[in-house]
Subunit: 280 residues, 2 copies
DNA sequence: CGATCACGTATTGCATACAAAATTGCGCCT
DNA sequence: AGGCGCAATTTTGTATGCAATACGTGATCG
């Protein structure tokens, strides 16, 4: 009937819940009851329940032993490993791409993206106070670059695995770019990154599979360098997509001592309910 | 109250549907309607629907444009790539394991598994007609080996990604072992595989991360060799877990010509309904 | 004779109602 | 006074009913 409302409730529930988790409304370790979510979203239990199950597969929540869902906690090591995994998968992608020996026409879109990145990066490096808009451009073309190398691999399975890894937002190629904009050594990092972009393109064009793979892996590790920076200033971490899900070992202990008995009960596999949660 | 019936309907639905798909009752490309599944399973629509959604995330089915699910088709390239991805992830796992420099006590379980594999392999190679039981033993210890190297990596994210890849059964480490039992060059393959097992263990023990990674990757490629064997005799493919989901380019064309107009309609994004599907 | 529009039917999607399981709090017994 | 057990309430899990959407078929008009 109405023009757009074919957007199903499931999708709405999924998006809203993901947003609530990422924005920190639901804190890591917190238990999400269906009724909570239903009351918050105004959507009935069936689609909410389905959305929560999907979020579990995406890794945002895990099922509690007694039933129900809890928001997952992630450590800095988890982010570190996710980046490494993404690098390995992108490495396979560019190796496949190189070994297929794509024609010039096929490589043209990637060439254009790299050229666009060249322009954006050089502009950012020239200006002392780079405009916010410039970084948005960088995010756009950087994302496109990563999409294109995966597309060039022509491997549905590879795309599937990468999509799964990047469902955790801090594993995506653009996760640390906005943060990078505020760091001191951003010019150095962007320079290195752009050299790697060009080198990967060159390696694919030359059919140098091994070189392309090594480059892609090392390229991903640039994100780990940014991660270390964010690690030192934890307030920066809050700006990283999904950064609110990260709980340091320090915080973990704090939580533990704060929740004392309750946490112990949860550890024994007991269901832990939020004590008094009156609503409406 | 009752001892076991706490096994929920969702899980039953998931298991049964997965079994129906893997056993070939639902053929690749076939549309699965909820009502079909409900009638077949005797479970109400809600858990069936949820199970189908889960199967979608596992990769067994995909959503049809007009709604509903269709059984996914996999090509031999998809299997090839899945194995490569598993190899890459296991490579990271053993590199992490090596770089952690685990103590002797920590490595002991892996040592025992490798020793057990030594025994099984040497027994299989001695006998002219190796007992079926021996291969079952091999499957058990081989699976344990792969579990243990992932555990040694101590990386939840890595475990998560591997679990996702191996949700497609033909990507699992043991997928081709039963098939391997029937091939001519099984002694050679098992010999190589076992040497690799030992070498990986040695590399982890010595802290040789790069070597361990290279070995794990090459080890996974043994499965690709088996895949090539199965490729030549497509009847062998039916013995591989999930092999019924594999549709060669040849079969794809056959299906296409057979379904002619209907397939064309589906290609335009129209919903395609099974014409007359009387039941009961 | 063909094409288009309208109507009928079947299937998906959502919401609610009901049943079962579990946890918490209270009471009783030791 | 403390621990164990029972009961009540909250919450999850399942089933069914209803509404909306989309497809197929038939009829009518050009």
């Amino acid at each position: 009937m109405s023009p757009a409302p074919r957007s199903h409730q499931q999708i709405q529930a999924l998006l809203k819940l993901r947003e609530l988790i990422l924005s920190g409304v639901f804190t890591p370790g917190e238990r999400i009851s269906e009724l909570d979510a239903v009351a918050r979203l105004g959507i009935s239990r069936t689609p909410v329940r389905l959305a929560l199950t999907l979020l579990e597969h995406e890794g945002f929540v895990s099922t509690s032993p007694g039933g129900g869902f809890i928001v997952r906690r992630f450590s800095l090591e988890d982010i570190h490993d996710s980046i490494e995994i993404r690098g390995a998968l992108e490495g396979i992608a560019v190796r496949y791409a190189a070994e297929r020996r794509p024609g010039d026409a096929e490589l043209e879109p990637l060439r254009e993206t790299v050229a666009a990145l060249d322009t954006v990066v050089s502009r950012i490096m020239k200006e002392k106070e780079p405009a916010f808009e410039a970084f948005e451009n960088y995010v756009e073309f950087n994302g496109r670059f990563h999409e294109q190398i995966v597309a060039l691999a022509q491997s549905p399975m590879l795309g599937r695995s990468l999509q799964h890894v990047e469902s955790l937002p801090f594993a995506s190629p653009n996760a640390f770019v906005q943060l990078q904009a505020q760091t001191e050594d951003r010019t150095e990092i962007m320079l290195i990154g752009q050299v790697q972009h060009r080198s990967i393109l060159e390696a694919i064009g030359n059919g140098e599979g091994g070189r392309a793979e090594a480059l892609a892996r090392e390229h991903a590790r640039l994100a780990r360098r940014n991660l270390r920076t964010a690690q030192q200033q934890l307030d920066l971490m809050r700006q990283v997509p999904g950064g609110t899900l990260v709980v340091s070992a320090q915080d973990l202990n704090d939580n533990k001592t704060a929740r004392d008995a309750g946490e112990a009960a949860a550890a024994t596999g007991q269901r832990r309910r939020t004590p008094n949660h009156h609503r409406r």
